[in-house]
């Protein structure tokens, strides 16, 4: 909201006050001031010119040649392209040498052969508004030759207050309310303002019926004898400074009262109203209303309408109807000043996308005693400009409302305890009084009377008063303190600990990169992976169509990252630890089941010649194996999965990860993606890749025992290294061969490592050769060549039993 210092000055003496300092004071005590700016600084550089003559340019249809008096005694000739320029106008003239916004310097020029000695400005050219359809015709009769700002009385500073910091302060939506704060901060008096109603006539008021609880009060003030007239320059200036374009007296007055007291109001032409007066009711299904902005609004039953008789004439608290627009010169008015409930106004204005200065205020719980003051204020201001207006009828005042002013007890000790500062009873009373609260001592306690302007949804309990004391005392004056108390170490969070260990191990030794991704997964991704049929927690208002689902598992989130990253890198190693949600496992209260998952993806440009142990899948298996081992899950195995296929994983090249004694429990999987996914995921063609993925359930892991592993005594006798190559049928798994070797070693064959895998015609079809490094070592004696020979003989026999043989 924009606050004009000149306007504030109507309510509190601001002489000698620096705008920047005032802004800081308000920020620290009241609400955040986001900006301090001099109002339209360029208005001091242009002067008031009087258009003496205007004639058509001989060589250009759209140009006029104007003769102006700019107070110098000489007539100035300016060529002007605006359609609205006319003799007799007072206009803003930038003479030769003036610099306008955008570093635009006015020069002598010749336009189609005619000399031009300056420029007549539009509002946009002066940085005043976006208006540039024509020149700015100055209101009233400002002094010719004077700087425009001075002549119009609009030399001003404007403070911009962050609206978000005003959501709980309806009283600050007008200058009077801000001035009350300023007066308290500066310790200067708030100047009196007479808002009492002028004398009213005895005629019957316009009948007002309120049939909806969404309107708590509706005041109708009849006004007669309103003539055409100018808005006073001082008021026009303040409206301009606060971003309102002056329109005509009635509109300007209405806006001024709103900007002054924070109370929206609306004038109707009384002659246009139906005989049975005003009805405030909710809309009917299918009803429509063309609002002032000429848009036809489709209404719903929750919308509140002001009706003339039964015909809608305004969208209550938001905008008037096109038909009810009061014409300049309308003599007989009905001034509406009402109090509408915040929620319906907010709902309607949000639904229609129609936020106005009026709706913004009603959303904040306005004081229901305010309409009467606003009506009086409007009437008195109007009388100042047009002394002949009369108020023929008594006041219509309908609705069911009560004064929210209340008394709140305040324990001064509690104030001191909560703020942590030794402020005296007298000091806190003075601070509260400075903003219009009345404080009475009541034994040890204080009783604080909260005026109605602060009592709607704002001040209701002791803590609210403590806030008032604290902010006016200034939080910056409160000394900092340290917490004290028993130091009890917090309980260990095993899941956090496990997740943090995984992160360190994966980002460290395994060189994976941690990513955090959105919890949303797109329908398109699910469709691609064949996960469309699962049930999901979904939001009903997604930001993007087709991205409403909350993920059940984390891993699919990584798949979409492969293609863009592969474009940049030959190798992509990503992991994420995150949550998934399962609606079918919802609690009784409706909370969906929550799972915690570690997801890994390893994707690499396909290489023509990869060693047997260098493929993505074995590498990722090794990463997972190392991870689990480092986490002290020592009993672990990878088991080829033969059960039901998973739509997005390779039907064969996938293993279950099992942890624990015996068969162990499944904690996840490592797998290649189904080869059919390469194309839809974009990792084919020039990005052709090998990809392996893994998913480990942290929940399942947490159920397994961890052990530090036992110590193996260091060998006492030397061992020796020996290599063996074994030729075996393809279908014999490597693990079986290892078992045969270990059996042949009788406990002395150690440190088995496969270092080569070979296939070739000389081995025969369906056979492969695996070469092992191993160490023969006993903990009872030094082994000899003889022991090696007998080991090889036993191995030979053992291999024979499974159709394999030693390769010489």
């Amino acid at each position: 909201m924009l606050i004009s210092m000149r306007w504030l000055g109507r309510h509190v003496d601001l002489s000698g006050i620096d705008p920047e300092q005032l802004a800081l004071d308000l920020t620290l005590s009241t609400a955040e001031v986001e900006g301090v700016e001099r109002f339209a600084p360029y208005l001091s550089d242009v002067v008031v010119g009087h258009v003496l003559e205007r004639e058509q340019h001989p060589d250009a249809d759209k140009l006029s040649i104007c003769k102006l008096d700019v107070g110098t005694g000489e007539t100035l000739q300016i060529v002007c392209g605006a359609p609205n320029v006319a003799a007799g106008q007072r206009v803003a003239v930038a003479t030769v040498g003036t610099v306008l916004p955008g570093d635009f310097k006015i020069k002598k020029s010749k336009i189609r052969g005619v000399h031009s000695m300056g420029m007549i400005c539009s509002e946009r050219e002066l940085g005043l508004s976006d208006e540039h359809d024509g020149i700015w015709v100055l209101p009233g009769k400002p002094t010719i030759g004077a700087p425009v700002a001075e002549a119009l009385g609009i030399d001003d500073w404007v403070l911009e207050i962050d609206n978000k910091s005003l959501t709980h302060r309806p009283d600050l939506w007008g200058h009077r309310g801000v001035a009350r704060e300023v007066a308290a901060i500066l310790d200067r008096p708030l100047l009196p303002l007479d808002t009492s109603l002028p004398e009213l006539g005895g005629a019957d008021p316009v009948e007002v019926r309120v049939v909806s609880p969404a309107c708590s009060r509706y005041i109708g003030l009849s006004i007669d004898g309103v003539g055409e007239g100018m808005t006073p320059d001082w008021m026009r200036g303040m409206l301009l400074a606060t971003g309102q374009r002056p329109i005509d007296l009635l509109v300007d007055l209405s806006n001024f009262v709103m900007g002054d007291l924070g109370q929206p109001n609306h004038a109707f032409d009384r002659d246009q109203l139906a005989g049975d007066g005003i009805l405030v009711r909710e809309a009917r299904e299918g009803e429509t209303l063309v609002t002032l902005d000429e848009v036809e609004r489709k209404l719903e039953p929750a919308d509140l309408l002001i009706c003339s008789g039964d015909k809608a004439v305004a969208l209550a608290g938001i905008m008037g109807g096109q038909d009810s627009k009061v014409q300049q010169g309308t003599g007989r008015l009905l001034l509406e000043v009402a109090c509408f409930e915040p929620v319906p106004v907010r709902r309607t204005s949000a639904r229609l996308g129609l936020r106005t200065d009026s709706s913004a205020r009603f959303e904040k719980h306005l004081d229901p005693t305010l309409p009467l003051k606003a009506a009086g204020h409007f009437a008195r201001l109007l009388q100042e400009v047009q002394p002949d207006v009369t108020f023929p009828a008594s006041l219509a005042d309908a609705g069911d409302w009560s004064d929210p002013a209340c008394e709140v007890p305040l324990n001064p000790d509690q104030v001191r305890r909560s703020l942590g500062v030794g402020i005296s009873d007298e000091e806190m009373s003075a601070l509260l009084s400075s903003i219009g609260f009345r404080v009475q001592a009541n034994g040890e306690a204080l009783t604080v009377s909260v005026p109605s302007n602060r009592a709607t949804k704002d001040i209701a309990i002791e803590m609210d008063l403590i806030e008032e004391v604290g902010r006016l005392y200034r939080y910056g004056n409160i000394p900092e303190r340290h917490l004290t108390g028993a130091l009890v170490p917090p309980p260990v969070d095993h899941r956090r600990e496990l997740a943090e260990s995984c992160r360190d191990l994966l980002a460290g030794g395994a060189r994976f990169h941690e990513t955090l991704s959105y919890s949303f997964q797109s329908d398109a991704l699910h469709k691609m992976l064949g996960l469309d049929g699962e049930s999901y927690v979904s939001v009903i208002n997604p930001v993007q169509e087709g991205s409403a689902r909350i993920r059940r598992q984390v891993l699919p989130s990584l798949l979409g990252l492969l293609e863009p990253n592969r474009r940049q890198r030959d190798e992509v190693r990503l992991f994420e630890i995150g949550k998934g949600y399962l609606p079918e496992q919802a609690s009784e209260r409706g909370e969906p089941g929550e799972v915690h998952e570690l997801a890994l993806a390893f994707c690499r440009a396909r290489q023509s010649d990869t060693a047997f142990d260098e493929g993505c899948l074995p590498r990722l298996m090794a990463v997972v194996q190392d991870l689990l081992g480092s986490l002290e899950f020592h009993e672990q195995q990878f088991v080829a999965v033969k059960q039901a296929p998973v739509s997005w994983l390779h039907p064969v090249r996938r293993v279950e990860v099992r942890v624990g004694a015996g068969d162990g429990a499944c904690v996840g999987f490592v797998a290649e993606l189904d080869p059919g996914l390469a194309a839809p995921l974009g990792i084919d063609g020039e990005l052709v890749s090998d990809t392996a993925v893994a998913s480990i359930s942290l929940d399942a892991l947490l159920e397994q025992e961890r052990s530090g592993g036992s110590y193996n005594p260091l060998p006492r006798y030397p061992g020796f290294k020996i290599d063996v190559a074994i030729v075996a049928p393809e279908e014999v798994p490597a693990r079986d061969l290892s078992r045969v070797i270990e059996k042949a070693g009788k406990g002395n064959a150690k440190d088995l490592v496969i270092f080569d895998l070979f296939r070739g015609d000389q081995l025969g079809a369906g056979r492969r050769s695996l070469a092992y490094h191993l160490v023969l070592q006993s903990d009872k004696k030094t082994l000899t060549d003889k022991d090696a020979q007998s080991f090889l003989r036993r191995l030979e026999r053992g291999l024979g039993e499974i159709g394999a043989e030693l390769r010489s």
Partner: protein
């Protein structure tokens, strides 16, 4: 040639040996059976007996002299080799080897860890909670009733038409859950992912990370809040940071504040602080009595303060990241910059 000359020649050759290999050849030649010493030894049996003794001694002396010469030269050569090595010929400090490849931790993880460490050291519990949350915990129990603007669907992702289930809009619901099962006094922080219904661009994101904290105890005051926040900032930035509290409004605290920290990036105004020298960092306040009540804690006996810290914002501020979408974008070119 007399023996003396022979020895002198041999010593001269030893002295001239240019490297260890030449010296090794020379050693074989001089001390071998066909060498200088060998010949001298060979002559001994053919000498008359009385001369054999002196000849043997002479041979031994020769051997000793040659060996000493060889050893001395070997030592000289070794020293020369070391000296030559120390010359470091061909070394180019700027010639790169392939970089060490490492993995990386997400910057959010890193800042979370830093804060968790600070808070753990002050006895705070670190808590986790669901991202899909009941309306009660996200709103109702936090003094955000049904008609509150914060509940509008332009701010909140709703998971059902009844508005019973939402994507949490802050991590405060974790605190409510904690208050239900813990007895005061306690101190806790809840880091996590939160959601706001918002279209994304460089400065707006619908998913981000936060860490909210809560302290409940006897006579907790605004002074304690200020002291704690200053300790926190000292932990984050490694130096004393000036702060200021100004009024701010959040339904679950009363009084509520915005805490601004003195800009750490400039001395006289910069882009980050928009020239004000203050950075709006932490919404905070004393816990609203209604919030304590909703969680079953008696507000006449207990009080507390709460604060929220935008982790995403903190990461962006401290690394000068200009586009919030990088945080959850999963682009390796971004992630790699935070190697662990």
């Amino acid at each position: 040639m007399d023996k003396q000359t022979n020895l002198e020649n041999a010593q001269a050759r030893i002295a001239e040996a240019s490297d260890q290999a030449v010296l090794a050849d020379l050693e074989r030649e001089l001390l071998g059976k066909d060498g200088l010493l060998g010949q001298q030894l060979k002559e001994i049996p053919s000498l008359p007996p009385p001369e054999r003794g002196p000849a043997g001694r002479a041979a031994n002396e020769l051997k000793a002299a040659l060996t000493a010469g060889l050893l001395a030269r070997a030592a000289e050569l070794a020293e020369a080799d070391l000296a030559a090595d120390r010359e470091g010929v061909g070394f180019d400090a700027t010639l790169p080897a392939p970089p060490v490849e490492r993995g990386s931790l997400h910057p959010i993880t890193k800042v979370t860890r830093r804060l968790v460490q600070i808070f753990s050291s002050m006895g705070y519990h670190i808590l986790d909670g669901p991202e899909v949350e009941l309306d009660w915990y996200n709103f109702e129990a936090l003094n955000i009733p049904a008609d509150h603007p914060a509940r509008d669907s332009q701010d909140t992702f709703y998971c059902d038409e009844e508005g019973r289930l939402v994507l949490r809009t802050h991590t405060s619901p974790v605190q409510v859950r904690a208050m239900e099962r813990m007895a005061p006094p306690f101190r806790l922080v809840c880091p996590g992912k939160v959601f706001r219904h918002e279209n994304t661009d460089a400065t707006h994101e619908h998913t981000f990370h936060q860490m909210e904290g809560l302290v409940v105890g006897k006579d907790i005051s605004v002074g304690h809040l200020v002291g704690t926040m200053k300790t926190l900032l000292r932990g984050i930035f490694g130096k004393e940071i000036d702060v200021r509290l100004r009024p701010g409004h959040f339904p679950f605290v009363e009084p509520g504040f915005e805490l601004d920290a003195r800009c750490v990036f400039c001395e006289s105004g910069c882009r980050v602080c928009k020239g004000t020298r203050w950075i709006e960092l932490l919404p905070c306040g004393l816990v609203h009595p209604k919030v304590l009540e909703a969680a079953g804690i008696d507000p006449s006996e207990w009080s507390g303060f709460a604060f929220g810290l935008g982790l995403s914002r903190l990461v962006m501020l401290s690394h000068g990241i200009d586009d919030v979408r990088h945080l959850l974008g999963g682009d390796l070119r971004f992630l790699e910059q935070f190697s662990c």
